[in-house]
Symmetry: C2
Subunit: 350 residues, 2 copies
């Protein structure tokens, strides 16, 4: 049987939520990833050291165990450093003094345009450089990366492309600031990578697989509805081109975003695709189907290590080419491709 081993996989964009949801889903990420960049869009958002440290501590206690391989209900206690939560702050205008004080505790700061996605009401209202200059200059000098949910408030299929001018303005105005275009979904965003040296990107596994056709082309599929919404076939092709060829500026970030089943299968379905427990299996299937398995290590770990100078705790995940049936749900969260079979499964984690 064919196997493939990934060393220290990293999820560079992850929603762990809080409370019971955090308890339920965090072990699914800590099982197979060495670390993850944790999104700060809680209610209220993470905007100070106290809430950051408290949240990190709740994540540590939720991940201080992992799900056993054998599907039993018992958890095996693990060294808590086995999974590193890379903490982020919710972008606001912060003073240099505040940032100097907190910079050792955070991996990055995540910027949301106001109201653009789940729990983003407190985000940026307008992108006037002068209003943001103090914060962004301090971040640049303190080497704090800026992670950006890049969407305008325009027509849903145009939102990301319309945001490109803001990425350009940020990249040019703060040439030493590391800017990550999060969960990119368009050819327009892919084309930015080689145009500005300080622009990077994360790509989800679902945007390598689906287009709007999968969300709304046949029946409406709430579990594939997310923000940014899946785009056109040519956009997916552009994403696959850079991901599967391990473009050095792209990193895997699942944007795995759990909602309870009732919040998805209802009138007014919430945005988010839950992929954390199936991401590595799906990535193996995708990369293998294009004969690009050798590039997967760079996409799921090495690129992120190089870009951000990360040294993750050691973890070795071995996958095998044996079908894995995706569960109907994990706790009350329905994953992407529930009840479908993926060609690869996780054999072992060391």
């Amino acid at each position: 049987m064919r196997t493939h081993t990934l060393i220290m996989p990293l999820d560079m964009h992850l929603h762990l939520r809080d409370g019971a949801m955090l308890e339920a889903i965090a072990p699914l990420s800590s099982y197979s990833f060495s670390g993850a960049v944790i999104m700060p869009n809680l209610v209220p958002p993470i905007t100070n050291k106290q809430s950051l440290e408290a949240y990190k501590s709740r994540i540590r206690s939720a991940t201080n165990r992992r799900i056993n391989d054998d599907d039993s209900d018992e958890f095996e206690l693990m060294d808590m450093d086995y999974f590193e939560p890379l903490m982020t702050l919710f972008y606001q205008n912060y003073s240099r003094e505040f940032l100097e004080d907190i910079c050792d505790d955070i991996f990055a700061i995540k910027l949301y345009p106001a109201g653009i996605t789940t729990n983003s009401d407190g985000g940026v209202e307008s992108f006037e450089i002068e209003q943001m200059r103090e914060t962004l200059e301090a971040m640049s000098e303190l080497s704090i990366p800026l992670l950006v949910h890049g969407e305008s408030d325009g027509f849903v299929m145009d939102r990301e492309a319309e945001f490109m001018s803001i990425y350009e303005m940020l990249a040019l105005s703060f040439p030493d600031l590391k800017i990550v275009m999060e969960h990119i979904t368009t050819k327009a965003a892919v084309q930015m990578l080689d145009r500005y040296k300080n622009l990077y990107a994360t790509i989800t596994v679902h945007h390598l697989l689906i287009t709007l056709d999968d969300v709304a082309g046949a029946a409406l599929q709430p579990h594939l509805f997310c923000k940014p919404i899946a785009k056109r076939p040519e956009d997916r092709e552009a994403l696959r081109e850079v991901a599967l060829n391990a473009h050095p500026k792209v990193m895997f970030g699942s944007d795995s975003a759990p909602h309870p089943q009732h919040a998805k299968e209802s009138c007014g379905c919430a945005a988010g695709v839950f992929t954390a427990p199936i991401a590595l299996q799906l990535l193996c299937e995708i990369f293998d189907s294009e004969d690009k398995l050798d590039n997967l290590q760079a996409f799921v770990s090495d690129n992120a290590q190089s870009i951000h100078g990360l040294c993750p705790e050691f973890k070795e995940v071995t996958l095998k080419q044996e079908p894995f049936k995706v569960p109907e749900s994990y706790s009350l969260v329905v994953p992407m491709y529930a009840n479908r079979s993926i060609a690869w499964s996780i054999e072992d984690v060391l």
Copy 2:
């Protein structure tokens, strides 16, 4: 209080379904419309005289009553000719002999590309003119209009635009065949109207109101999910331009398509927006908001009468500018804009 009276409104594209659903929803159309073009995509589809007549008879018995104005649960018996079901056949290749025999019993024939929407599996697999010539020539000579669900099997946002070449081929190959582009949703389709003399169109009320933003721009809205899917703002503008200015080749067709609530609010939501009982109120609101109320009579009746030589039974619907709260549901069907308020309501039907 301002009022506006519509004479003999016609719904030129209506799904009445069958059985209990037919019984529940048909009175909602027959209450306020003089007649409607009834879609034939039942299971199995209407493809012969026997099933056509039996279905028409079931529609007549379901509409042989109307809902009282006063919201009581009692139905008032009405003359059954008050509402004329304009029957259609499901397109297949039919012989001239068959069509000669049935032409007095049908209003038109409805063509579905195979598998493109609800109950369309038996539709046309490929649009090779020579295979369709006998049927379409006979229809042309017998003055049977061809109503077309014009979508390709391509990417969901491109399906209608991609179908334009087929409309062109049909319009040029059968210059005397009256071809109606049903429920058009794009600027591309609007532009065809002035290009081919034998091409006409129906437009729904929901496509005058919504874009993909309303379906999937914020939370996912299953009750606004339909086929063809709502498109871009510039497409909606093009539709409003011809509808509100009463372009003589466009007619109102609701494409009102009921599904039980559970089939809409679930994983794999069915396509269809239910608007029949609120269509005239919404149209008044839209036309009035653009100061075009005087053009509404042409859009909801006169154009269809001229194009098809119809002489509907007399009915006079008076609307008033008084808010109407859309019910949460009609039987088990959730309408568009459930629980929202519309600026116009029906005052009286004579």
